[in-house]
Amino acid sequence: MKKLLSVQQLSKFFGEQLACDDIGFDLYEGEVLAIVGESGSGKTTLLRCLAGLLPPNHGRILYHGKDGRQVDIVLASEAVRRNLLRTEWGFVHQDARDGLRMGVSAGANIGERLMAIGDRHYGHIRSSAEQWLGRVDIPISRIDDSPWTYSGGMRQRLQISRNLVTAPRLMLMDEPTGGLDVSVQARLLDLMRGLVRDLGLAVILVTHDLAVARLLSSRMIVMQNGRVVEQGLTDQILEDPQQPYSQLLVSSVLQV
């Protein structure tokens, strides 16, 4: 399995305040890694650093590109980072409104990445959009509707398909099921599991919900107060947490 991402000694401070400290891990193609913690643990800050949206104070983020070249996200130019986020990477925001153009139709939202990389055939862009709507269980008849008319769950699925249209290798997701009804969450998680499997996506998923982590991820990092408390195979940590904080987290999950 090819290594996709190597994070080394990543730290981020806001003034005196520590957000995340000395984070390190590797990610391989097709792997789903969950970063788990409560609010204030630093997990979202970590994700934003990985996406190149926040400059870390220390550390390296090495990405192995499709062309075989290695890029340090921390040192790369804004042009490189912005381009990556539109092609080989995807970012799914907790609130779909942050990841969509609410003022244009669903079809335009999905087609935008294709147009950004030079696709100039309206018919082709539209049929790609139709395909991807189908992939995420959105009726094709909704292709010309604005995301304002979509439900929360639909918007989230639209956001996901908008990212997938350029066949990214790595997806970063920030609480993708947050704020959704339980049944809607379940449907979304099912969809995501299928997509990850079918497309061989690598995912870094930030969540406070251990059930989501269990369902989607093969590996897990537990964070508390900006530091890594425990990391390893998801199943192992959930079955047999070693650290007191992990034990606390696992035991407090409502057994449904």
Binding site: R82, S105, G111, E112, R120, G123
Partner: protein, 278 residues
Amino acid sequence: MSSASYNFAYLSEQTKRMIRRALLKAIAIPGYQVPFASREMPMPYGWGTGGVQVTAAILVPEDVLKVIDQGADDTTNAVSLRSFFVKTAGIATTEATAEATVIQTRHRIPEAPLTENQILVFQVPIPEPLRFLEPRETETRKMHALEEYGVMHVKLYEDIAKLGQVATTYAYPAKVAGRYVFDPSPIPKFDNPKLDHNPALQLFGAGREKRVYAIPPYTSVQSLDFEDHPFEIQKWDHTCALCGSDDSFLDEIITDDKGGHMFVCSDTDHCRATQEQK
């Protein structure tokens, strides 16, 4: 109380030099918007101060100036700007496109093909083609620098999805020399093909927004479109009622209060010349 006195073409030589330097930069990077320190002029912002500053910066006493607005020499603002230059520069003026060396225009390109000896100066209200999609200057600057023009095609896609065709009929965006997307000013899309490989130098001035840009002679200018929805210009079911022209931009004149109308060339000089030929 002392009164002010004026330099040739109103602007000080220092100001003209500053504008020319900006224009040289603009010519060196076709389609790129160059910021410049626009001066307050005796006509309001929005009335063509950008075009006037560009013209004032390049005029020499031997120039022959034509000023048009909506294609006509006799519209009120064209009259006003032409008399401004007569007053402050004393240069010869003309209504005949072929005789002019500098043509300042608002919202039209003359129908008569231009030559290498001519400069066309456009008055521009909003120089930024991305402005209506992205209001922030800090963001649009980045988008131009990184060639992130996907969002422009998103707008075209939306039009086709909603209306069956691209709904932009003027200020139609185009790509210059294969690199920068620019706003050609509110000329009707009918005039866009004239921008491409024009022998004349084309200069664009936006006074209020403080930008100049340029298309050097013989530069490629391609209007944005899709392969399966190619760029098309307007057509009329009529010919000009005065000269019979069937390939010029036509103005609609309402002739009575029962909806009667007729169509006449917007370019008054072209109309006159065609009539004289007959």
